[in-house]
Symmetry: D2
Subunit: 337 residues, 4 copies
C-alpha cells in the first residue's frame, strides 16, 4: 500500500504512522516529496489494512498495490482455464455457445428450443427453472419440474444444461440436474450462495453484477475458487449506466481486460447486455471478434408468448443467422466454433 | 400500457395488435397521431405483458402506466407507516437514530459503543454479526457470538438492536436476537431472503441496492410486504456512479421522492453513502433537513482499529457533535429527535 | 405525447387538461383506465410542450412519442449517408480507417505517423492542432503550425486530414486546412460551435459527449444538419460510467441502435473508448464486427514520448497488426476495408 | 507519482524506468515489495508525465499524488473566498440565494419574478438571455433584449444579475449587463470560453458538468483563475447517473468535499439537480444544512407557461415557503441568510 499523508505532516505524525504500519507486520518506507509525504507499506497483506490506515486523521488516502484476488489471478496460474462439459468447450480458442429460452415454460417449449439451437450449433442449453424476478407478481419459474424438463432435453440432444441456482438450500437439487450452475447477476455478492456452489464439483457460471467493478467480480469468483471449485466461468452481461435505449450497457472491453488479469474464461451475454432482440446479432459477432470464450443467448420459439424476457429473445431463425455470422468471424480469426 | 407502433403500420398490423391486446384481457384504444400510431391497452395488469408486447416486430416500444408495486404504494395506504420498536420511532415526524460499529468485534467494543451512542441520543444500536464482505479474506463477523453480545448491549442500554441477516437459513437465528432485521444492499434482490424475512413478525430495514432503481427498490420491499410483514423500513445508502471521491453517491432526493410514492419510512445511511468519516456529519444534518425518518450511522470507539469500515466510522466524540447539530435542524423544522 | 394524470383526477381537472392541450394546437384523446386516466395529445409538435404539461399539478408525467430529431432520422431519409473525402469512404459497406497521433507535435512525428498509417491501410489522418486539455497546464497544441504540418502530411500521402475545431472563431482557419472537422466530446453541446460548422461545406465528425444520451447526440447532429451541412459522421468514443479499469466504457451496441434510427454513418474510437493501448486491438475488430462504418485510432511513433494520450496510443507496428485482423473480420462479413 | 511495475520486472527494466523518470527531472525511489516493485517519482510536476510513464510496456499503472489543480486549492489559499456583489454574499457563513426564471421571456415575466424573489429574500436574480437548448427547435432565448430586461429588473430591485454566457464572442456583451457570468454545465470544458471569462473582472459561476469528476471541475475553475479572475463560484447542479426518477442525481456531499479541497465557495442548484418542482424544497433545506454557500433556484410566475424548464420551476408562493424553511435551518446552524 501507498499511504499519502495530509499536507505538511509533523515529523512526529510521520513517525507514528511508521510505527502503526510496522505494528501491522509491514515494512514502512518514507518518501519525502516536494509537497507531500508518502509512506510505502510493504508486505504480503492484500491490502486488508487499507481501511484501518485510511481512518487516521493524518492520512489523506491509501492506494492499494496488490490485486485483492489471488487464486483467480494470472500471477498464480498463467495458463488459461478451459471448461469442458459434454460437447461444450469454453476457452482455449473455442467459442462455446449456450442458447435457449429465459425460462423453461413447458415440455414442448424447451424441447423445441433445444432441438433448434442444437441444429444451429449451440453446445449448451440455457433455461431458468428458478427465476429471480424483479416483481413478486411475475412468473417465478417451474422449479423442480423445469429442471426435469431440462434434463430430458439434454437426454435427447446431448446439450449441456446451464441453469440458475438462487439460494444455498437449492444447490443440491439444481446440481442433480444441471451441467453448469449459473449464479445470476443479482446474486453475485450472495456470499453464502457462492460458498455453497464452491463446494460442488461442477462448473459455475458467475454473472457480473450490474454495478460490480472488476475487482468485485473477481473477488466473487474467488469466494467460489477458495472453496475448492476451480471451474468458474465469468459472464459479462452488461452494466447499469445512464443509458436507457438499451437495458444495460455491454462493455466488451471486459473481455481483453479480464484475459490480462485472470485465467478464467469469459462468456458474453448479449441478450441481457442489450435487452433488445434486434441489437443482439451484431453484439454476438462483436463479442467473438473481441475474443470472448463463449456466448450465452436467449432464444425462444415464440418470443411474444415468452413468460419472461420476450423482448430480448431471438427466434430460432434469427439464431441460425447469428450462428452463421459468428462462425464467419471465428473462422477469420482462427477460433473454433 | 401505451403501445407505440413502428412508423407507418399497415391497418392489418394495427388490427393484429388490437387482437393480441384484447386476448390478454385488456381493452385496446387506437390513437392515430400525425406521424405515429399508439394503442392504449387498458386493464388491471400491472404491465406484466410489457415484455410480450415489446417483442412483436411491429412494436417500437411499450410504456407502462401503472407503478409495478401495490402494497408499498401510497395509493393503497395513504397514511405513513411508523415503526416503533423499544424507544426507536421511525417516521411520523420522528427522526430515529441508529448508531454503532460496522461489525461487532468484542464485548468491550460493542458495550462501549452502545453506551456512548445511547448517551448521545441514539435509540437503536447497529452492529454486524454476519458480515457480507467483498473479499473472502476479510473478517466475516463473529456470527452467533456477535448476536449474543448485541443482545447483552440491549439488555444494558435498552437500545433496539439492528443487525444484518444474509441468508434464509439464518433468519430464525437472527430473529431470536435482533429487534430489526437488516437486509444489506448486496442482497436487495435476494428474493428467497426477502421472502424469508417477510414471514417474520419483526421490522425489516431494507437497504437500496447500489444500482437499484426506485421501482426495483419498492418491488424488493413488495416481496417482504407480500408475505405479510408490513413493517418495512427503506434505507437509502448511496448509489454507484462515476464519482470516485466518495465511496457511493448519496442522493438525498430519494427521501421526498419516496414519500410521494410509498407510505414506508425512509432512513439515510450517510456512512456508506459517503465512505469518508469527515463527510458524514454534514450529510447527517442534510438528511434531517431533507425529511428523512431516521439515520443509521457508523460509530466506533477506535476507528483505526476497526475490523471493517474504519475509514467511514465516526468516533463517539464526533457522533456527539453530529447529534447536537442534527437536533438543532430537527427542532427548527418541528421534528422530534 | 401521453399525459398521465395523477391518481383519481376530478372530471373538472381532466377537462382543464383537455382544454390546455387543445389550446396548444393538439388534439386530446382521454382514456379512462382501471386506475389511472391518460390523455393522448396528438399533433406535429415534437413534444416541445412536454415540460409545460409536466408542470401542472394534476399531471404525474408526460411521455413523448415522437423522436425529438428530424433531419437526422431514417424516417426523413431512409438511405444511409455515405461520406467520401479523398480516398476515405465512411458508410455504405465501407469501413473507413482514420489513424494518427493524438496531437501534432513536430514535422517528423506527423510525417512518420502519416507514412506508417497510410502503408497499413488507413485513408484518414488524425492529429490535433488545437487540443482541449483537462488541465490548463497541459500541452495545448501547435495551433496553426500544427494545421500546416497536417496539410503537408496530406500533400505527401493523400490521406484525408481529420482535426478538431474548438471554438466558432477558429472554424474558418481549421476549414482551410482540414478535410473533416472534428467536434470533440467536450463540445458536443457547444451549440454556437455546432452552428458554425453547420455553415461549412466539409464533413463534420461529431463525437458523442461522455454522458450524452442517444437523443441528445442526435439532436447535436441536428444542430449541424439544420444549418445545411448534410455531411455529419457520428463518433462513439465511450461513455462515463462507474467503471475505472478503462478510461471510458465503450458501448458498441450504439452502432446497431444508431443504424436503426439515423442515416448518418457511425465511427468507433476505441482509443478514447478504453484509454489503454492493450485493449484497443480487440475493440477494433469488435467494432468492425458490430457493423461500424469506420474507426478512428490513435497511433504514435513513440507513445511514451507523446505529448498527450500516450497510454492509449498504438505503435505503428501494433497498428499494422490491428489492420490485418480487422481486414480479416471485414472480409468475412463482406465489408470493404 | 507512484509507478507500479508489472509483475516480476527484470533489474534492467527497473533501471530503465529509473533512468526515464530521472530524465523527466524527477527523483526515483525504488521500493521492492514482496510481490511487486513500485517506483516513487518525486518532484514538482503535477503529474503531467503520468500518461507518458503509463505507456511503457513494463508499467502496470501510475498513481498521481499531487492534486492536478493549484490556484483553486486550499494549500495555496487556506482562507475561504467570499464573493460579494451588490447585496449578494456567497461564502463565509452567508447563504446567498439567487432565484428567477430559467429564461427571460418578457418584461412582465422578469419584473414579476424579480419583485417576488426579492421580497422573499433572494439577493440575486437568475434568468437566461442566451439559452443552450438540447434541441435546435426549442426557444433559444431573447438574447441582448433579454439582457436589457435583466438590467432593468436590477435597476428596480437592486438584485445582482446572474446570467449565462455561451461563447467567447458574447463575453463582452454579457459582461456589460451581468453582475455574475454563468458558465453552464454543457460548457464546463469549453476552454476558450473559460479563458475568455477569466479575463473579465466580474465573478463567474461555473456549473459542474453532468459527468465531471471533482478534479475536472476544479481544473475547469483553474482555467479561469489562471487568467487572473479570482472570483469563481462553483455550482453543483447534479450528475448523470442511472437514476431516471430525477433529471440528474444531486450529490450534496460535494459541498463538504469541495470545502476540504478548495477555498472557492460552492452553490447548489436543486432545480436542475432534481428536475422536479416538488422535490426542490427539501433539497434546498438539505443544501443549507450541508453547508452550501448559496442556492440558485428556478422560480417562475406561471410555470406551465414557461418557455423552458417549467416542470422544475417553483411558483413564487412555493418559493416564499422554501425561503422560510431555509432560514429556519440557517438560523439553527448559525448561518446568515
Amino acid at each position: 500500500m501507498i499511504v499519502l499523508m495530509k499536507v505538511n505532516p509533523s515529523p512526529e505524525h510521520v513517525q507514528m504512522m511508521v510505527d502503526r504500519i510496522e505494528k501491522m507486520g509491514l515494512k514502512a518506507h518514507v518518501i519525502h516529496g516536494t509537497e507531500r509525504v508518502v509512506i510505502a507499506a510493504v508486505g504480503d497483506k492484500r491490502d486488508g489494512n487499507k481501511e484501518a490506515l485510511e481512518s487516521y486523521d493524518e492520512v489523506d488516502k491509501v492506494m492499494p498495490i496488490l490485486a485483492p484476488y489471488k487464486i483467480a489471478s494470472v500471477e498464480i496460474k498463467p495458463e488459461p482455464t478451459v471448461i469442458k462439459v459434454r460437447d461444450l468447450i469454453i476457452g482455449g480458442g473455442n467459442v462455446g455457445v449456450i442458447a435457449g429460452p429465459c425460462s423453461v415454460e413447458s415440455e414442448e417449449q424447451i424441447m423445441e428450443s433445444a432441438r433448434r439451437v442444437k441444429v444451429a450449433g449451440a453446445k449448451g442449453l440455457r433455461g431458468g427453472a428458478f427465476k429471480p424476478r424483479t416483481s413478486p407478481y411475475s412468473f417465478q419459474g417451474m422449479k423442480e419440474e423445469g429442471l426435469k424438463l431440462l434434463a430430458a432435453a439434454r437426454d435427447e440432444t446431448g446439450l449441456a444444461v446451464v441453469t440458475e441456482v438462487m439460494t444455498p438450500h437449492h444447490v443440491e437439487l439444481v446440481t442433480a440436474y444441471a451441467d453448469v450452475l449459473q449464479i445470476g447477476a443479482r446474486n453475485m455478492q450472495n456470499y453464502h450462495l457462492l460458498q455453497a456452489v464452491g463446494e460442488v464439483r461442477k462448473p459455475v457460471m458467475l454473472k457480473r453484477g450490474a454495478s460490480a467493478t472488476m475487482d468485485e467480480f473477481l473477488l466473487a469468483a474467488e469466494y467460489i475458487l477458495d472453496q475448492g471449485n476451480q471451474e468458474v466461468i465469468l459472464c459479462e452481461r452488461g452494466v447499469r449506466t445512464f443509458e436507457t435505449h438499451t437495458r444495460f450497457t455491454l462493455p466488451l472491453a471486459s473481455v481483453p481486460y479480464l484475459k490480462q488479469r485472470t485465467h478464467l474464461p469469459i462468456v458474453i451475454d448479449p441478450s441481457h447486455g442489450t435487452g433488445v432482440a434486434s441489437l443482439v446479432p451484431p453484439m454476438c459477432t462483436a463479442a467473438v471478434a473481441a475474443g470472448a470464450d463463449g456466448l450465452i443467448i436467449e432464444v425462444h420459439p415464440d418470443p411474444p408468448n415468452a413468460a419472461s424476457d420476450g423482448a430480448q429473445s431471438l427466434t430460432p431463425d434469427a439464431f441460425d443467422a447469428v450462428m452463421e455470422q459468428c462462425r464467419k468471424v471465428a473462422n477469420a480469426l482462427d477460433l473454433t466454433m
